[in-house]
Amino acid sequence: MLRLALLGALVVAAVGAVADIAPKDRRSGFEFISPQTQAMQSDETSNPGMLWVADGERLWGESRGSAGKSCASCHDDAVDSMRGVAARYPAFDEETKRPIDLMSRIDQCRAKRQGAPSLTQQSDELLALTAYVAYQSRNMPIAPPDDPRLQPFRDNGRDWFNRRLGQLQLSCASCHDERWGARLGGSVIPQGHPTGYPLYRLEWQSVGSLQRRLRGCLVGVRAQPFDFGAPEFVDIELFLMERARGLPMETPAVRP
């Protein structure tokens, strides 16, 4: 039974690998933006996302909730304890027996261990904390965990990536696998790797999450977007991180 399941997993992986962009051809969205926007990202003294990172650094040391603890109470200096963490998320969550994304993991920690109220993916406080944690992985290669329990969820994420959706009946793959480098309107289509989240999007004039960006894409193809926190989003992110394996983390990225 186990052998059959393994064979099935191998077949699925092989079929999937044909569609994925080969590691040597993987390029971050950074390479598809103007030199001015690139400079805005590279220079930390003018990168607007750093305002959220700085805020996150402050929040890291502040007590929250009924337990009277800060993140630092348990995790000490994030520069050490959080190094490399964002590069290997989403990870398997023992409690829910599902993958969990970094933002939700931080929020879960706040609620359970700090006794603090839960925050939404749109909240500046949670975005700031997540940006600060993810910043500790900046320039490190994306290294998704090789946890076999994640495979079915990753496969689900892959299915969503390849599924045509909305009134325009476009899949993620339609643009980001088949037409990256081409133009949609005035914009160059990137490969769609989540290398720099939470990121500062010029269109938002603010830092936002991957889920916010994906909702924007779903609305763009005239599909009903999943709600923030939907399991579909986590499965998709899990797949996207595998698809981006090896690319360096860029949080906080700047994108148009």
């Binding site: 933006i33 103007s34 030199p35 001015q36 926007t37 400079a39 805005m40 607007p48 749109q122 949609l184 309107g185 005035g186 914009s187 289509i189 010029l202 269109e203 938002w204 004039q205 916010r212 909702r215 924007g216 894409c217 609305v219 763009g220 977007p225 148009p256």
Partner: protein, 129 residues
């Protein structure tokens, strides 16, 4: 979006009080093609010794097609050392942008740039946030 905003010339005149403006000495760095009009980096540098006797007093930016002509007015002086300012501005559409400098002798100098502003392909629906 039609409004009764001043023209670029009127905006310049309001800054200079009608004095003559020479298109010289001002270096205006702004990309001719901008992928998002929400944050356009600009740098203005004026050729000036920045001494007490001869320096740039103000640098102003004006635009042609936003709802409002004004962008910013920067106040400098001999303590600046160099007449160079950078910021990020909003441009609502493709248009001309002007950088004006007022020197301590009361003269005005300018540089113009024509900018094409493209928009993101899928503009986010504000109600979906």
């Amino acid at each position: 979006m039609k409004s009764t905003r001043p023209t670029l010339d009127e905006a310049i005149r309001s800054f200079t009080g009608g004095a003559a403006v020479r298109e010289a000495r001002v270096k205006f760095e702004i990309s001719p093609l901008v992928e998002n009009g929400n944050a356009v980096p600009v740098t203005v540098e004026v050729d000036s010794p920045m001494t007490a006797a001869d320096h740039v007093r103000r640098i102003a930016l004006f635009n042609e097609k936003n709802p409002q002509a004004d962008v910013a007015v920067f106040h400098l002086g001999p303590r600046s050392g160099r007449a160079r300012v950078a910021t990020r501005i909003r441009l609502a559409a493709s248009q001309t942008v002007v950088a004006l400098a007022e020197t301590s002798d009361g003269a005005f100098w300018s540089a113009q740039a024509k900018v094409i502003v493209t928009l993101a392909a899928c503009i986010e629906d504000i109600s979906q946030q």
